[in-house]
Structure formats: C-alpha cells, structure tokens
Symmetry: C2
Subunit: 136 residues, 2 copies
DNA sequence: GCAAAGCTTCCATCCAGTGGAGGGTTCTTG
DNA sequence: CAAGAACCCTCCACTGGATGGAAGCTTTGC
C-alpha cells in the first residue's frame, strides 16, 4: 500500500488529539475544549469520529496559547483566528487591535520587571535578617 | 472634636471599602471576596459592621494584585501573606519560593518579548500586503 | 482474541470573580 | 429633622475557562 502515497501532495494522515497534546504541551481536555469553543477546527474526523489535526492547527494552538496567556478572551481569539485564516488583512481594525496588544505586552513587561525588583529587594532584606538562629 | 486626635499615636479612622477600592483600583466586590477568602483581614469593623482597613491592608493588596497577576493561587497567597505578617522569615522555604517566582517572572518576560516580536513581524507582513484597495 | 491505551460525548466540579436583590447606615442639604 | 443619595452589608446565582470522571466505542500490540 505504498506507505505514504509516495511523493504526491503529502496527504498527511492527520494527528490525533493525544499527539497534538504531546506536541503542544496542552492537556487533551483543553484542546477538546478549544474545539468545542470554535477556536480550533480539526478539519476532519476519522471514520470512528476521532478528531484529526494538521500542522496548521498546531500553529494556531501556539498562537492561542500565547494570547490566552495574555488574557485574550476566547471570543476575541475566535475573531482573531478567523481573520488569520482569511489570510489577507483588509481591515485596519485588526492592526489596531494588535498594536494595542503589543502596547499592553510592553506594559506587562515593565510591570513584571518592577515586580522582580521588588522581590529581589525583599529577598535581600531577608538575606541579612540573620542572627536569629538562622540556618545552623 | 479635634479633627484627628492632634498629634498622638495617629489612631487612623480606618478606610472603608469604597475608599480602598478607589485607591487600589480593585472593584469593591473583589476586595470583599479577598476578605472572605482569608487573604485580607480588615482588622476592625465599625459599629454598623462596615469593614475598616488600614495602610497595611493597602500594602497587602498591592502584593496580592501583583502576585495574582502572575497566577499565584489564592491559597498560596494566603500562605505567603501569613508569613509576611509573621514578620521575620525563619524558613528558607519561602526564600526559595520567591526565588522560583523570580525565575518564572524572567521566563514570562522573555516569552512576552518573543510574542511581541512575533506580533510585530505579523504586523509588518500585513503592512505591505498593499495593493488590494487598501485604505483609499 | 483480548487487554490496554486512546478516543468519544456528556455532565459535574473548580476557581476567581461578578451581578443583583433586599436591607441597613451615613452624609448632605433644605 | 426628614428625605434622598451614596455607601455598606449579606446571600445567592451566575460567568468563563478549564478540569475530572463515567460510560462506551476504536485502535494497537501481543
């Protein structure tokens, strides 16, 4: 059966959910949840009803993960991914929203930096609270 | 009524929840929720049962806000604040946990930075998708 | 052929808040 | 002092984003 259709257009067998989970580090449950939420479309089901994903889905999951970690809501992500799928950006609204997102990332970065400072100051202040039967 | 006890030990009237909300930028509901969760102790109630907060509580809220934004869970925060209240750090466990936290902050910062790059690349790639009736 | 592992759906639970009803308190102002 | 606005209280329900578990197919490997 010519193990892979030889050198035709690379039909790609489709990754099952567990494999996707392994590759992205996301729990299976979460991936399923994203599918249900309309964030991710498996593009195919096996005869038995198994979700089959492709490389594109993996790329989307990377985006999803990154933006979710910035608290972008799921409906918002749906919108963003739709536009991404559409390919060309015909509306500047999206550009604006991305620019805004970048601004908020910068803000977050500086927040984190100052938090780090604060923590390290805290740590220092403790370093020399010595004397009281410290670690002997 | 000597508006503030003149120059004695500064009894401080105690801030009511609305004022705390105004100063910290947190919703009243959330502050109440933190109290219920044992994160924040008003230290006093007015005769009418109003929660009365002090400066220390404000400081705690700052910490809470910062750490919550790093997804530190509420039970964990309870632990942390307890130790903080206890004053001196007698266990190095906490130091370790803070050091770990700092590590994760660093990680997060670099994640964000690379996300920013990715976004700006995305934005660039769209900038010059021009041609199709762009913005005229 | 059969067990283990993997997948499905569906429903319950969790966490961190948020919203609203129903009711008491404090401030302002006439 | 009365009225009204603004504030506060508790309690209970609900949300969003997952996560856990049961019950039941399917695929894999010996």
């Amino acid at each position: 059966m010519a193990r892979q259709g030889s050198l035709s257009t690379k039909p790609s067998p489709g990754l099952r959910i567990g494999e996707v989970a392994r590759r992205t580090g996301l729990p299976v449950k979460t991936i399923r949840f994203y599918c249900d939420a309309g964030l991710l479309q498996p593009k195919e089901r096996s005869a038995a009803g198994y979700r089959l994903f492709d490389e594109e889905n993996l790329a989307e999951l990377t985006i999803i993960r990154a933006l979710r970690s910035m608290d972008v809501s799921i409906p918002e992500l749906v919108r963003i991914l739709e536009v991404r799928r559409a390919g060309v950006c015909n509306c500047s609204v999206l550009k604006d929203s991305i620019a805004a997102k970048m601004k908020s990332i910068n803000l977050r970065i500086s927040e984190l930096a100052s938090m780090k400072d604060e923590l390290s100051r805290l740590l220092d202040s403790w370093q020399d609270c010595g004397g009281l039967k410290a670690d002997r």
